[in-house]
Symmetry: C2
Subunit: 355 residues, 2 copies
């Protein structure tokens, strides 16, 4: 990815990109959710470590390495940690991850696989009040020890976040045109902001002559952007509630104002969905389309279905939903799954079995 | 994938391929295992369900669907089941999976996610003696009920297995030439056979003028092919031992004779490795290269390292190792992982932590 879109990315001249095959993820046309063929899924869960964060991690670690550093510290609620750990291994950097207390076990276990040292910090991620002083301590620590603090947000790592932009270039290349709408999950807001910046690059360089409407999808419980947007405000807000969907639980304005302004500039809109609706859409995606994503990864599709039901978007518009993380990263277990697995003997293999 | 290489695949005219973005997996150059840059990894673990089996499943289910069928039964030791379940969902087919008793839980749990009905059959997969009558019962059942029995092997599903061939087309396209050697794990033998057939397609059609040496990698405990090959025999053999590496435990000759003859025709060779060497190579891949595969997925690399150490292959030869299944499908847990995760408080964030 880095080599192909080098002209649009802040990569120092002469630096070898040496990536892991991130990016260039497929676009798959929906079979059942929009039988007319106007809904497409951008399969970001098919990146090397299973999420779009690989795009950020690849560029950010390349920049750290090429600046002559040997190590970095980073925060993560799950996918960023695995991505940074993998690219740190790839580039020969030491990686120290500070993760919150609510990171799902399967995401947690992926990080040390690549040799990262992982610290799970008590109270981190429980609420903004409890997290803020911990985050501040990490910022101080980064300064004291002169070691970069990596956070997957434009607010903290703007150069690395430019790695997100190729999602837009690829969409246009794969679709052969600019879609009418792009549905993007908003946690911190960096993903949506980066994709929008990518489309703007293409327009500014005369490669396309229109822009898509950016559609920001948020869980009702993390509505930092959607309500302020609908009130025509220019700034995102803090909220006190929080979603149960891993990866989307951001209560403060990190890149949310940047995302809000992107949506506004594009003529798009926000969509609020419930955690339950997200889980339902995740199930529909796997059972009907054959696509297995983690819950956060299905939230864009949830927003699309909601907007369709509300009449805010038409079935005839070409819409792209960004799928973000693989289902295997936060694997389904429990009774739903167990009820479809049956222990039998050879003698049980009779007509009744498949009836 | 299916559309792009349609001319080489047995797809009926006029049938829409409607795939899930399988194939076109990246080729990544090794950073540390061969610093000279002559070793490449074909990242088959980045297919939609996390393994190369998607290539087979996509084509096989398309053929079933286009023949007017509504359902099929299948056997699986793990990855095939998830792949078939996903593509069955995609194509609106009912999928009934008969899995063996030793399938890892994470692979088992992936199958019902896509709506498949899963039957774990007592004694299936424990040994050839115990498995044979169960397999025979499934074959009878398929005939009695007139429902296709799907098995990812040329012996049983030759048309669907042609879906493996594009791995060869992609390697040549991505590398810009035919590699000197291709290292492939051999369980049943279908993967190696399919890739070889793909290279032969290119030669027969005048697209390339040479062929690579095919290198068959097997665990010592499932040596159905390597020893017969080294004895210049024309047929694979049955063995009584079995590997602990999920996915490679095949004791009988399914496509192994076909694979043996492919290796012979190519001027390649076999490599035997221990289960422990496979696990070591898997760890090196994630810790040094940043690539996380399941153990079977690392066996090709194990064979490459062994052949290099034995002097059977030179570092200067361009070698491609096929990585087969994602690490997330059989996720690392246990003490190795736990020892690199530390529970701390904010007060612990001091210099000592990253020393």
């Amino acid at each position: 990815m880095l080599e192909k879109y080098r002209q649009f990315l802040p990569i120092p001249k002469g630096v070898e990109t040496n990536d892991l095959g991130e990016g260039n993820t497929p676009m798959v046309r929906s079979g059942t959710l929009n039988p007319g063929g106007n809904l497409l899924f951008k399969m970001e869960q098919m990146n090397p470590t299973g999420s779009f964060k690989d795009r950020f991690a690849s560029l950010e670690t390349l920049l750290i390495k090429s600046s002559g550093r040997q190590a970095f510290i980073a925060t993560s609620s799950g996918n960023t940690g695995a991505a940074l750990a993998a690219y740190a291994a790839r580039r020969g950097l030491d990686c120290f991850l500070f993760v919150n207390e609510v990171v799902p076990e399967s995401k947690l276990n992926q990080m040390p696989v690549y040799g990262a040292k992982v610290f799970r910090v008590k109270d981190f991620g429980i609420s903004h009040e409890l997290s803020a002083p911990i985050f501040q301590r990490l910022q101080e620590f980064s300064v004291e020890e002169n070691i970069p603090l990596v956070i997957s947000a434009y607010k903290y790592c703007p150069d690395g976040m430019e790695g997100v932009k190729p999602i837009a270039y690829e969409i246009v290349e794969q679709l052969g045109k600019v879609p009418d709408r792009v549905f993007v999950p908003v946690g911190g807001g960096g993903l949506l902001s980066g994709i929008w910046r990518g489309f703007c690059d293409l327009k500014e360089n005369g490669i396309v002559d229109s822009l898509p409407k950016m559609m920001a999808v948020q869980p009702e419980l993390n509505d930092t952007l959607v309500t302020p947007l609908s009130q025509s405000l220019d700034k995102a807000r803090e909220v006190s509630t929080t979603t149960t969907i891993s990866g989307l639980a951001v209560q403060v304005d990190i890149d949310a104002t940047m995302a809000l302004q992107s949506v506004k500039a594009s003529g798009g809109a926000g969509v609020l969905v419930t955690d339950e609706q997200i889980r339902d859409a995740k199930t529909r995606l796997s059972m009907e389309e054959g696509i297995y994503v983690e819950a956060a990864g299905a939230s864009s599709v949830t927003g699309y279905l909601k907007a369709l039901a509300d009449g805010a978007v038409s079935e005839d518009e070409t819409s792209v939903c960004i799928l973000t993380g693989h289902g295997l990263k936060d694997a389904a277990t429990g009774s739903d799954i167990a009820s479809r697995i049956h222990d039998i003997t050879a003698d049980d293999i009779t007509k009744e079995l498949v009836a």
